[in-house]
Amino acid sequence: MNREMTPKERAYAALERKEPDRVPLFEAWMDTIVVEKIINRPVKVVHDLIDFYKKLELDFVAIPPGGWHFKRVGDTLLDEWGIKWQVREGGIVGQFVGFGFYIEGMLKTPEKFHEFEFPDPVAPGRLDDFETASKAVGSHYAVTGVLELAIFERAALQVGLRDFLRFMYTDPSFAHEVLRKNYEYSLELGKALLDTGAEFILIGDDLADNHGPFMSPKLYRDFIHPYYKDLVRSLKRRGAKVIFHSDGNLIPIIDDILDWGIDGLHPIQPGAMDIIQFKRDYGSRIAVVGGVDMAKLLPFGSEEDVERAVMDVIRQVSPGGGHILGSSNSLHSFVPDMGKYVKNILRYVNTAHKFGTYPIRNG
């Protein structure tokens, strides 16, 4: 009998679309209060975040970049990329303090964009947490660097989604300029992560909603594809495994996305795409990351509902490997009953540990 794999070995196997010893587990975005309930103490340093991943026996340890600078004005804050946010205390761990809801972008015109100075991707403090985590647990866990809002999403937030989509039609060279600046930022940060020894990179960029991509496939091919193809190729050339996150229905542009060369796609959002069908159609080309509904099941279901749903997704999606189990977006805290929610999160991971051992029979 083979020895149990390390979380890192398990992550590699799944992302190479093989069968590990059991289905790996992945979470990357958790609200502070959720992490604190799990580790029973405040989240202050990266070791607290690492303990969260260890306590739930997740296989990936996602560490966002740090070194944020922002200007706080009342209960809003202006970040380094010219974007204004509504402060939400206890927002996603590791995001800059008070990360909350988007209010508006301040770089609404070419003139404003040209006046603006982009932050330094490798400013002091950017990679400290990642390096600490890598040294502490990187030989055992799949420590994962995160490129947030990597290209399109930040461009759209800086300019405003509606206006940015319009600029693609009315001022394509400006749209390209904004995308290129963000691509260059993400590329440099990504390379710096690899220089510190990162083996796994998570790219986050919401390209779509439930209906489909925000932009037509033609606009996507002109404006988005070239930057992503190059970013992913640069990361993969150095041996990294790359997981891409986008909400929404990506089917209209899925072949193009797969052409980038990514290893995993997250979260295959319920209501927008069907993870079971997706695995059937695309599982030979990419690993799927997701499967546990966080909108209704985890906040509102009974523990029995959670157990049944997790067993169900394991039976239907995990056979043959190439599946990493995770929530369908993030472990946010917009829930009416935190106690129930935490119990459900524990039940989800415990069920996965109990029933996720390979071989798994299809059904």
């Binding site: 319009r166 039609y169 209906h211 925000f214 037509s216 606009l219």
Partner: protein, 223 residues
């Protein structure tokens, strides 16, 4: 120069909207008006038909948010020519919809798409924005007297706020003046909507506009 028929003017307006040709639309509007086509016909049977094409293509997955936005911008350019001539005229939308995302929620993409599709369908839209307190919904109902109230939420915790808004509307006895209260966002359900006293539930913007159109067509005009 061959004189265009009224229908060919209207077809030209429709094509300009559907192909996002703002300059062409402005020119076509001026030519149509010069040819004697009334402003309201120009809007309802010309430009709005172009938006119908756009809406149908969006529904069919041929057009995306980028195209809805361009079509909206094109229509706005045309409306700038026509609107001054509509004031005090006989043009009326097929109904008025007040729409907003409830207090505690800042998500707006679905709401904005619905607002665009409603405008395209011929409704007058009062867009209250996001994070709208209950009192503002009530005040809007009182002062602007819309026919339909549409509320959006994406966050499950913001959903109880919808019940709060409906309760305040009932307390203020403004419900009889409303033809429809419709709520939306994928996290909601039909049962929930009925449970809080809403009349209808639309999981998507496209479903929402269908519901509003149905109510509008049940009467000859709903004004």
């Amino acid at each position: 120069m061959v004189e265009m028929t009224a229908q060919s003017h209207l077809d030209r307006l429709k094509e300009c909207v559907a192909s996002f040709d703002a300059d062409g639309l402005v020119k076509a509007c001026r030519e149509a008006l010069a040819a004697g086509i009334t402003p309201s016909t120009l809007v309802i049977d010309g430009m709005a038909k172009g938006m119908d094409v756009v809406g149908a293509k969006y529904e069919a997955g041929e057009y995306f948010l980028s195209e809805l936005i361009m079509a909206g911008e094109t229509m706005t350019a045309g409306m700038k020519v026509v609107e001054p001539l509509l004031k005090g005229g006989t043009y009326q939308g097929i109904g008025t919809v007040a729409i907003g995302t409830v207090s505690g929620d800042l998500h707006d993409i679905g709401k904005n798409i619905l607002a665009m599709l409603l405008t395209a369908a011929g409704f007058d839209v009062i867009d209250l924005g996001v994070d709208v307190p209950a009192d503002r919904f009530v005040q809007t109902l009182r002062t602007q007297k819309p026919d339909i109230l549409a509320m959006s939420a994406l966050l499950t915790v913001a959903i109880p706020e919808m019940e709060n808004v409906i309760r305040k509307i009932d307390e203020a006895e403004l419900r009889p003046k409303l033809k429809l209260i419709v709520v939306g966002g994928t996290p909601l359900t039909e049962d929930f909507a009925k449970g809080i006293g809403a009349d209808a539930y639309g999981p998507t913007a496209v479903a929402g506009v269908k519901i509003c159109k149905e109510i509008a067509s049940k009467r000859e005009t709903i004004k």
